[in-house]
Symmetry: D2
Subunit: 345 residues, 4 copies
């Protein structure tokens, strides 16, 4: 049994890790920490985990280090920097759900996160935990920088064609729509029910921190410097991200050709489903699962391509992907604890 610990486990990503790992046949949750809730039973914060017998404890690195071999970190960025470094030095494996080790370039990190990275040398050791792109490297990684929710949907939507000669890689626009759980679990006025319900708004236009993360990965795959427009929106629903991606085409292609490229690219992927060209992705079909559904549409009048992806922001966009990464690292079947179909409706 693999012993794991969840650091900062009282938020939504922590809750989903608990739920998934409790069902995992090869894993034992050795510790869950939360400074604010230390001493409380897990079930007081997660009414869906009534049978869970664990309690939150305080995160003291010296105590906790002996308890587990793999650490899931659900800490805010900046705090996570330190914790990852400490655990790494102690020879532990880490899956970091924060943004702290995702950007390879410390100066890009500094620009977008407004702080200096204290362990820039460690950045190159971290593997960006998107299995569809980095499965081999994940297998032997010590530090997994688990991707952001928006980047997961955007990168999976673009990876199959970003290298292609028939798109204009300079024209990419990602317009994303997210459920409210993406904002985390800390009480704040803009995410109160009565403020959000029955309403939609855009936010962080031109300045969202997931922008450089998407650009980094698209640049790596395409071997070109790519910049994008990215606009996130807040939707009155708990979970789910739908990303509508616009790309200019350099030449005439049809939907069937594009579809074939995607089908091939994701042929062996357990969690990516390429829809045939008349089906519209719907977050309701993926919420509660680790799947990403993708559909693509050619606009012949404009000679452009519209790609739509949907994921569950807390699963494929966070904790599900973290468990998928763990499964890969420890050579468990990659779908272990991640097979459930979602309920409908």
């Amino acid at each position: 049994m693999l012993k794991v610990a969840i650091i900062g486990g009282s938020g939504y990503t922590g809750g989903e890790l608990l739920r998934l790992l409790e069902q995992h046949p090869h894993v034992k949750i050795a510790a869950v920490t939360s400074e604010r809730s230390k001493g409380k039973p897990i079930s007081t914060l997660f009414p869906n985990l009534k049978s869970c017998r664990l309690k939150f404890e305080s995160f003291k690195i010296r105590n906790i280090i002996k308890k587990a071999d793999l650490f899931f970190l659900c800490l805010p960025h900046k705090t996570s920097q330190e914790a990852v470094a400490g655990l790494y030095k102690a020879g532990k494996k880490v899956i970091d759900l924060s943004a702290d080790y995702r950007l390879k370039n410390a100066s890009v990190y500094r620009k977008w996160y407004d702080i200096q990275h204290k362990y820039p040398a460690l950045l190159k050791n971290a593997v960006y935990g998107l299995p569809e792109l980095y499965r081999e490297r994940i297998k032997c990684a010590s530090i997994i920088a688990n991707p952001g929710c928006y980047p997961t949907g955007a990168i999976l939507g673009l990876a199959p064609i970003i290298k292609s000669a028939f798109i204009d890689s300079n024209s990419i626009i990602v317009d994303s729509k997210s459920g409210v759980s993406g904002a985390g679990r800390n009480p704040a006025l803009p995410f109160m029910f009565s403020e959000v319900s029955g309403s939609v708004k855009a936010y962080a236009i031109t300045i969202h921190r997931h922008t450089p993360e998407i650009e980094q990965e698209l640049s790596i795959v395409s071997k070109k410097k790519i910049k994008i427009n990215f606009t996130p929106h807040l939707i009155p629903m708990d979970r789910g991200i739908l990303s509508t991606i616009y790309v200019k085409l350099n030449r005439k292609v049809n939907s069937t050709d594009i579809n074939r490229i995607y089908k091939k690219f994701y042929a062996n992927e357990p969690f990516v489903r390429v829809l045939t060209d008349n089906e519209y992705p719907n977050t309701k079909a993926v919420v509660g699962t680790n799947s990403c559904d993708i559909a693509m549409f050619v606009d012949k009048r404009k000679n452009s391509l519209i790609i739509v992806t949907v994921i569950d922001n807390l699963l494929k966009g966070a904790s599900g992907q973290a468990v998928q990464n763990m499964n890969i690292m420890y050579e468990f079947d990659e779908t272990t604890a991640l097979k459930t179909a979602s309920t409908y409706p």
Copy 2:
């Protein structure tokens, strides 16, 4: 492998049966019928079941009878009467999710459903499929009358104390709040998003057909003729039923005593969770599961008891309970395919 068929499988209860049975290790779904959608792949109606390879077929009893041993019926009442009788005569086992075989008394059925029962003699063969009350009889039943959604929450909330001398069994009021999926999947104006969203209403006051079903079961358990007030409400949410039950107390008792009675009554039940007295049941904690959470509160000022139960109307209130009944009938572990914790949020 047990071969099962789902008759009338294009609605929400059919979809949940499909989802649950696909994960069941001892079951093979041999056929799914739908008159309206015959020929269509399952996945066109259930976007969450993309990997399901089945297609809807038409329900012809002669053809289908050879395909399966157990039949789940998700037909409208009245239509179900006939189908149950036909399958029963052919020696098949049936779990009927309609109301047609729930009421033991054909004249009560006639009064509330406005039609004559054509197979009154069969009523006594049908076992009311509430495992917490009838587990032994379910084991050898041929026809299971799977309980209604409201009755499940109401009866589980009252069963432990209905026989007790310290309540006034004549004073019971059940005030229930249900998600919209309880109304089924047929398009109708009152259940359109824009009509329901942001709104609550009561309906079928004094005339809801689940009333005699609740009364029948409470009367059987208590060995007294019991009548209740029952008022259902429509809540702007997909799933879940919360029932608030009011009962007068004949003598002074406190919450701890009541709690003890419930804990004892449900001590060995895998799907009933008796909350300790300060926790309020929340549908969000049970949606996606087969669990029923129950809490009880004594109002000392009024010498009355308030019991609150929550279930998922499509699972413990319909398809989950149907699978639980199947597990009992075929001596599978009772929780097979029903163990998942729900997502949160």
Copy 3:
């Protein structure tokens, strides 16, 4: 022009007062206070009031007292005690939206609110601001104790028959369902979108502070000591309260008789609509208005009466009623600024 001030105006009731009073032809809003938001334009907190040119200021009684003649107080209970007393002594008129002057009996207040009332002698000067019961006294009141949201719906539902010999006034149960705005605007985990969405729960069972308020008013009208069961529920919607009220009947009456009593009782009321017996009240029909819709149903099988009322908790349940009270006090047409029909859907 009547000069008014709103004290504690940054919450939802403050926002609704601002919206209503800005449209009022005989009123000038002279000041709006908020300690937390002082200096900020109103529109930064209320995106619907973009054209409003006012700014929040700090509440200093000496400064503000000269600015206005009538003061709307949207302060938390306890804080309001002091403010009401200060304004009253300065000869000002006050409409207090807090609970501080609603309970006539200081020891009942102490029991339910856990604090001592510092101005018990003032309680008898305060008029309970429910126009349907106290219109004449409101006309010359100096202090209006504006009713709570749940009490408004409950009392209006019971007032016409509470004196009647054919009901058992000892049997009253009020089961209420409220939108989330009733919890106020302070950020707190239980009212975050992702916690509330898609879910229903009961809360404060047997201990909600609106209980003695309902009991006081029913006792006054009926001239009997009345105690009730009251259970509030949280519904995933912004606004609206639906109350389902259960009463035992002492003799046989039918719905038509009951309906006639209600029609007569509310014959001249501009904001109470008695529905005919087959229409179910729906919060969507009253949200955005100052109306209360009432319907009544006799359950012949149980010889009991079910009354359903719906209001907008922020309008008839708070700010709308406050403006109605002001209209009465200053002899404006009672419906001024309150006539709008709600949007649908």
Copy 4:
């Protein structure tokens, strides 16, 4: 008093017209028609209009033509063609909320709507009813082609800069998010509460019929042939459309410059509010009103412009704009019956 009739008044746009026109001091509603609901009181279909004494009648042009001078048509496209022509020939004024007279080019109409226009000669008589562009022509129009909901938000967002040399008019992408009431009031599975709730999806990608309408108006304003990408999305909310519009910039400009252009363009418009550059439009701020809020953001990294507009799809996007057009045609104050601020939350 102007006598008006509403033809096809049982849907959501009909309901909003009824609500607005009932409050209008210079208008008398002479007739409301609905084939499906003829004979029924208005209030049975619109619970918010309980005090309305009108009944639906059947639409017989000979009878109805004498009753009113101005006709609001809320008919499906194709049906509306005929009705407009008939009323026009009878010398009546018409505000047509369908799409039938919006496209000036009958062959474009045929291509997108799959039917032949039977009165192509009438198209040139119809004025596109967007007051911000066509106020003068609206004053003396006989037929108003009331704009579509998506086009209203898109065109208002682009009109001030579409002629400008610093944008690439070939690069326009409109990504719109709409509430469910935009789909109308006819019961259909995709718009049932349980299908839509908690979910977002794109639809009609590359093929939505509002595309040529947006293109036509942008082409007229800019005097260039303009084609756009347009993608609509369905959001789990009743009302509101948010459009996120992407345009490439040909030269460096900053947000302040852009803001100044918009402020100037809309300086005298009663229903367009240009937000200052750090405020994000929110549908909640305009729902229930006839306002359009607009904000613009320059993405310096990509040298592109992002414009965000929000409207209420049933008001500025349909019935509110229709009443605004009527006010202009009959020289009433343009804001009559349209001044209300929305409730919040």
